[in-house]
């Protein structure tokens, strides 16, 4: 299947397509979809709020994409470690590929941003609806990606995410605490 077929499948037949992606592992395409989705999300952000950062928008976007990709590697690894707790099958690159494709709804960010800022009140409402819908769509695709890759139930998939999220939040808090302590 080419990339168009895969994206078409993610839209119309997400279960079978994400299952296929988890087995075929098109890592390069998954990485590209994820990076492009992140880029489009960043382009849709009002950069002026980051003015105090005093760095160029280009550098800012590059750093954010690199940090986001690293984040995907880490988060996929975490899900990969947590899934066996719920009797899930372990396949890191399959999961990574499926999660990458699950970011496809992020392509709607600039569409929502343009509508929200150019078409008055109706556009603002429509842009907001698109943003929320894309967020929910992405979340559902993430759950399907995990479920199909790890061959677990939907409930186990949700629990796996919750455990991984709690671990991430705790880890970030601990790292920040340690960094702040060390810098004093």
């Amino acid at each position: 299947m080419n990339i168009l077929d895969l994206l078409d499948g993610v839209v119309w037949k997400p279960v079978s397509t994400l299952n296929l992606i988890a087995r075929e592992k098109p890592v390069g395409w998954a990485l590209s979809i994820f990076a492009l989705s992140t880029l489009l999300g960043l382009v849709s952000t009002d950069y002026s709020v980051f003015e105090p950062l005093q760095i160029s928008p280009t550098l800012f976007i590059i750093i954010q994409i690199v940090v986001s990709i690293a984040g995907l590697f880490v988060f996929a690894g975490l899900l990969h470690l947590v899934a066996p707790l719920f009797k899930g099958h372990k396949d890191y690159w399959g999961l990574f590929s499926a999660l990458g494709f699950a970011n496809f709804p992020g392509f709607l960010s600039p569409v929502a941003a343009v509508l929200g800022n150019t078409a008055g009140m109706a556009g603002a409402i429509l842009g907001g609806v698109i943003s929320v819908a894309a967020g929910i769509w992405m979340l559902v695709l993430y759950l399907i990606a995990l479920r199909e890759n790890c061959r677990i139930s939907t409930g186990a998939s949700i629990l796996t995410y919750l455990v991984a999220l709690i671990v991430v939040v705790l880890a970030v808090m601990v790292i920040f605490f340690l960094l702040v302590l060390k810098m004093r």
């Binding site: 839209v11 980051f50 950062l53 940090v67 600039p110 569409v111 343009v114 790292i175």
Partner: protein, 308 residues
């Protein structure tokens, strides 16, 4: 499945076109004050400097930041006037002058509201505003110029650092050793020249006689109440008083206070990535290099006159 591929093509094409539009017209994303006629309040907090490198959130006042905020305020038709809440001990001469230029050329009524401190450079950037409102206990004034040259030879000797100077131009190393009498005179001339600019700009901004300003410009600090008596500020009060006055200047009966929005939750999450990178960068730097960097940037910053 094949018959519906058009939807994917449409999503990708519209997404890319929207992205190109957003890149070509970044102002599309700039927040505007909708509805009533408003007075924008911009907070300027910290030392005045040209800019800061690195990943961290700058906590200071830079010309670039002020320019961007005033541009946004000028471009927004619903914003009729601006209040700058200044809380600064001063800083770089050139950066203060640049900010003062931006404030002078702002096309709408602009009032400065002084916070805890608007001294020296903080006063320099306030002077060209159409009006200045200070709290009775604000620390202001300190109109003067200072430069300090540290002779670090003994300190370096203790650290075991030896420096060898090769120079072209006899005064090139004058700020890294003890000054000669001639160099002390040169530095004094430089300081006097900038002091003269400071006095002239304050006099012009406040419509005062330069001689009158010179009498006040002894480097002395004043409270807001004293500054009112001396003509360095116009009114006593807080932000609300400044907003009310700016509104009156703009002909608004009941002005509504407005602030540009802070970064959203997600934008702050994105920004956190940069903060972590900055922290890691600092931690990855060996301690001795950190000390040297600190010395380089904080103890011997090179030729610099400051107004603080």
């Amino acid at each position: 499945m094949r018959g519906r591929k058009w939807l994917v093509v449409v999503i990708v094409a519209v997404a890319l076109l929207s992205a190109v539009l957003l890149i070509a017209k970044p102002d599309l994303l700039t927040f505007t004050a909708e509805g009533k006629e408003r007075v924008v309040v911009v907070h300027l907090q910290g030392a005045i400097e040209e800019g800061s490198a690195g990943y961290g959130f700058a906590q200071n006042i830079t010309p670039r930041y002020v320019e961007r905020q005033l541009e946004k305020a000028a471009a927004d038709n619903n914003i009729k006037a601006a209040v700058l809440r200044v809380n600064s001990p001063g800083g770089s001469v050139a950066a203060s002058q640049q900010i003062a230029e931006y404030i002078k050329s702002f096309p709408k009524p602009l009032v400065v509201s002084m916070g805890d401190m608007a001294a020296s450079g903080g006063y320099y950037i306030s002077a060209p505003a159409r009006g200045i409102v200070a709290q009775p206990g604000t620390i202001t004034g300190s109109i003067g110029v200072i430069s300090q040259v540290l002779d670090l030879e003994g300190f370096y000797e203790k650290l075991g650092i030896k420096t060898e100077t090769i120079k072209s131009g006899r005064h090139k190393d004058m700020l890294s050793r003890e000054l000669t009498p001639e160099e002390r005179e040169l530095m004094q001339e430089l300081s006097d020249e900038i002091y003269g600019q400071f006095v002239a700009d304050v006099a012009a901004g406040r419509n005062l006689n330069p001689e009158e300003v010179r009498e006040l410009a002894t480097g002395q600090i004043y409270t807001g109440s004293q500054a009112l008596e001396l003509g360095l500020v116009d009114r006593l009060g807080g932000i609300d008083e400044a907003v009310k006055w700016a509104g009156e200047m703009a002909g608004i009966e009941s002005p509504e206070k407005f602030e540009f929005p802070a970064p959203s939750f997600w934008e702050q999450i994105f920004g956190m990535g940069l903060k972590i990178a900055g922290l890691l960068d600092r931690l990855a730097t060996p301690p001795e290099i950190q000390i040297l960097n600190y010395l380089k940037h904080n103890i011997n910053p090179g030729p610099q006159l400051v107004i603080k």
